[in-house]
Amino acid sequence: MFSFVVRRLMVAVPTLLILVILSFVLMYAAPGGPFNSERPLPPEVLANIEAKYGLDQPFWKRITDYIWGVVAHFDFGPSFKFKDRSVNDIIAQGFPVTLTYGFWSFVLATVVGVTLGTAAAIKQNSWLDYLAVGFSVGAQVLPNFVMAPILLLVFTLWLGWLPGGGWNGGEWPYLIMPVIALSTSYMASIARIMRSSMLEVLNTNFIRTAQAKGIPMRRVILRHAMKPAILPLLSYLGPAFVGMITGSVVIDAFFSTGGIGTFFVNSAFSRDYSVMMGITILVGTLTILFNLVVDILYAWIDPKIRY
């Protein structure tokens, strides 16, 4: 087990490094910079600004400084647009918000998806099953940027039940619509994957044996069927998690929640490269970490995997 974790880490670290280098090179290759505005600055001023941000240094110096800053101090450097703020400040402001609704969306999608999928598989071809299948087919065409306007239309414009946006420290009325909008399509996919893998497991011999021994159904499902049935789902959870964090971009645009999505899009339009890079690297790190956890879980649950 230990050597497996170490081996996976040995893949994860270079991946992260590639991501950092890739985004840095992209930024370096960019024609024009954040200081090329419509009214050109006097060359002396521009030179001063570039010296302040270290933009006059050679490529190798800049990239090694940047990587060193990120790795050693978790320091993503200053923002190019906001003079008094560093990228770290911006992340510290936006990330907790994103993480809050991202976490709840993930929990909601997983719990409801797994429950619905399992229930549908147990009661195959019942009304519950048809409901679950109908939902999982219908909801997969409802990505967050489709769900969000529909929710806003119904619950804010027509019914007036929920506030149309804002964050307010994450109080629940402000949390409901972002979480639902973000989780619906993933919930559908999780329910579908869970249903088909549970159906497969329920048809195996060891489940029939367990039932023949007279073990109550609930116990058969929870103790025997759940573990192998959840395996195919695990590999989907990584991408789903990434999708929810990425969805922040849309959620923030619709609900003005002020997560990292807001800052990412704003910095994309104002060419604030250091903020964009910081957020990309942060999300990439999370992705890689999450995939690592999933892989380890996978190896831990599935006895067939040799590590």
Binding site: V11, A12, P14, T15, I18, L19, L22, S23, L26, M27, A29, A30, P31, V137, Q140, V141, L142, P143, F145, V146, A148, P149, L152, L153, L157, S196, V242, I245, T246, V249, V250, A253, F254, F264, V265, A268, F269, R271, Y273, M276, M277, I279, T280, V283, G284, T287, I288, N291
Partner: protein
């Protein structure tokens, strides 16, 4: 001694009968697909949507980039969808005909989806088949590269690229092409691993056929079934992906448009009472995605009966 006449006829008849009954893989797949009502209906819907995108322009009463200044700012009252004014789907905020815009948006969204799927089929299949066929260290390195690429949050990198190198359809295609082939490569590799141990491949190897030729002539044709299925399922994902980017205003740029861009516009103006701006593009978006998913599911059931 000689088999009598009737026996010979029987055998001949039996042979003829067997010929009738023996179906090719594709024929039986077609039969299975045709039995799946949802898939057939979806296929018809898809053809209709494609026809709408291709020929809808002929029915539009207005040019798609004609700005009717008399409607501007009074859209909620004057831009209502109606047959009398010729604005079947109403007008948008700048007084443009939404019907013509939706036709254009549907076309571009479909194109993005299909191009994305084609890149996936070409690059992904070749890559995966090569990795699977050679196996060993080559396979290890090639698939490790895929693993590494997969754990990069491409949505963010793509947005970074769109900002840095400018927003254009070409850049969007490059970005989508970069991402879409990864899954296909994995699937193709998995299939190749089982195919490469079949006798006909062994024969080809024994007779000294060049490896590249074996991959192109013997492996890839046998992958086609599963590749077609995943390509169909990939198209809606690519459309969703493009819509997401266009929704942010980073994808397709004016005067071009896509369903995502139209939905974004409609969502931004819904509080002014111009709901049609949201609902018509949304309808075509949902319809297209639905139809692709159902056709893909139908194809999967038809071509890959094991996978239930």
């Amino acid at each position: 001694m000689f088999p009598n006449r009737t026996t010979v006829e029987d055998i001949e008849n039996a042979a003829a009968l067997a010929e009738v009954q023996g179906r090719s893989l594709w024929a039986s797949a077609r039969a299975r697909f045709m039995r799946n009502k949802a898939a057939v209906v979806s296929l018809i819907v898809l053809i209709l949507v494609a026809a709408f995108a291709l020929f809808g322009g002929f029915f539009a009463q207005w040019e798609r980039d004609f700005v009717d200044f008399s409607l501007m700012g009074r859209n909620a009252h004057l831009g209502v969808p109606s047959f009398e004014t010729g604005h079947y789907f109403g007008t948008d905020n700048s007084g443009r005909d939404l019907f013509a815009r939706t036709v254009q948006g549907t076309g571009i969204s479909l194109m993005v989806g299909i191009v994305g799927a084609m890149v996936a089929v070409l690059v992904g299949t070749l890559y995966g088949a090569t990795a699977g066929y050679f196996g060993g260290r080559v396979d290890g390195i090639m698939m490790r590269i895929v693993d590494v690429l997969m754990s990069i949050p491409f949505m963010f990198v793509l947005i970074l690229m769109l900002v840095i190198f400018g927003r254009s359809i070409l850049m969007l295609f490059i970005g989508i092409g970069l991402i879409s082939w990864l899954d296909m490569a994995r699937i193709a590799r998995g299939q190749t691993l089982t195919i490469k141990n079949k006798e006909f491949v062994e024969v080809a190897v024994a007779t000294g056929v060049h490896p590249l030729r074996i991959i192109l002539r013997h492996i890839i044709p046998n992958l086609l079934g599963i590749v077609v299925v995943y390509a169909t399922l990939l198209v809606p994902n690519m459309i969703i992906f493009e819509s997401f980017i266009s929704f942010l205003g980073l994808g397709v740029q004016e005067p071009n448009t896509s369903l995502g861009a139209l939905i974004s516009e409609g969502a931004g103006t819904m509080q002014y009472g111009t709901l049609w701006q949201l609902l018509f593009p949304l309808f075509f978006f949902v319809l297209t995605i639905f139809a692709f998913f159902f056709v893909g599911d139908g194809l999967r059931d038809a071509l890959d009966p094991k996978d239930r």
